[in-house]
């Protein structure tokens, strides 16, 4: 059993004490989102970049007035982009919107039904964004070769899916996640697929550096309670990984000594 020493989660030079990243989509309202965020202990929250509604009431608070970019790391995503060009354009808008903050979550989708990543466009976008001085956290498939390539391009974190976005199917291919982890020198964060607390624990027990989730919390009947469960699941999964689990055996191994019985 290999001995694992703890190392903090460092993304683009910033150290985070929480290994849970949450989203801001699908919540009933900003207040529920903020309550879940506070309960989860997450320090990073994703947002989407979209057109301002013309004719909207400017007195209504916007997301970033409720969830402060000074208190939390706002991670703008490129959700909805199906080409490298659209993703790069979205990141540039996000950087301007966030006063020059250059951390982004790159996702280039390939198919509306599965929301599976288009890895060739993802690679092209990653290269362009790194060249343009962005810090790129990249959503990708669980292909270990592509994950390594994205690291080599200069992405600051590689984020393979556990299952399709919003599916809640859990970590469907732990073997590939392990292969990715075994070769990685940047943080590996499972992004998408988590449905409930045990899924997050499984990702962390594999040795992932973090977990990113949105729907699992937002679509729970009680999102704030699920945020609490996810916080604990990520922490306990991490501790179990560091503790080093016992080997699996096909047969039993008695816990009580065999010697000294009196019968």
């Amino acid at each position: 059993m290999k001995d694992v020493t703890d190392r903090p989660l460092v993304i683009a030079g910033t150290t985070y004490s929480s290994r849970l990243i949450i989203g801001s989509g699908k919540y009933q309202n900003f207040q529920e989102n903020l309550a879940a965020l506070e309960m989860s202990g997450a320090e990073i929250i994703t947002v989407a970049i979209r057109r301002v509604n013309l004719g909207q009431n400017s007195d209504e608070p916007s997301l970033l007035e409720v969830i402060s970019a000074e208190k939390y790391t706002i991670l703008p995503n490129t959700a909805g982009c199906y080409s490298a060009d659209d993703a790069v354009r979205t990141c540039r808008m996000a950087r301007e919107l966030l006063d020059g903050r250059k951390l982004v979550k790159l996702e280039v989708l390939g198919d509306q039904k599965t929301l599976y990543p288009n890895v060739t466009e993802t690679l092209a976008a990653a290269e362009a964004l790194v060249k343009d001085d962005f810090d790129v956290m990249v959503y990708t498939s669980d292909d270990p070769l592509i994950a390594k390539r994205l690291e080599e391009i200069g992405c600051v974190a590689v984020m393979p899916l556990g299952a399709p976005i919003g599916s809640g199917l859990g970590i469907r291919n732990p073997t590939n996640i392990r292969l990715i982890l075994d070769n990685a020198t940047v943080p590996i964060i499972v992004d998408a697929g988590v449905g409930t607390a045990s899924d997050a624990s499984i990702a962390m027990e594999l040795g992932c550096d973090g977990v990113l989730m949105n729907t699992a919390i937002a679509e729970a009947s009680k999102p704030v309670l699920m945020a609490s469960a996810m916080k604990k699941a990520v922490e306990s999964g991490r501790e179990a990984y560091l503790a080093g689990r016992m080997p699996r055996r096909l047969y039993a191994s008695a816990s009580s000594p065999i010697d000294g019985t009196f019968f």
Binding site: G23, S24, G25, K26, Y27, N33, T46, V47, A48, I49, R50, R51, V52, L54, G55, Q56, N57, S58, S62, L63, L64, E65, A69, I74, P76, N77, A79, R89, R92, M93, A94, E96, L97, L98, D99, I165, G166, M213, N214, T215
Partner: protein, 66 residues
């Protein structure tokens, strides 16, 4: 003067700056980003940016997403 804002055509009575357009649309200059004909307009340049016939303007904000 005709311009396109977030995909919608808009007729303006007279020559307008980008800042005047935002005020006309009741959009605060806080947490937004603006693109003019595909190029980002830096926040510091919004007040100085003039608009011309046919300009395409995109105004975006951060909303909930995963």
């Amino acid at each position: 003067m005709h311009v396109t804002v977030n995909g919608e055509g808009l007729d303006l009575e007279k020559a307008t700056s980008l800042q005047q357009l935002l005020a006309h649309l009741n959009i605060g200059e806080g947490r937004i980003a603006v693109e003019l004909n595909g190029e980002i307009v830096a926040k510091s340049q919004i007040s100085r940016q003039a608009l011309v016939e046919g300009d395409k303007i995109e105004i975006v904000q951060a909303i909930g997403g995963g």
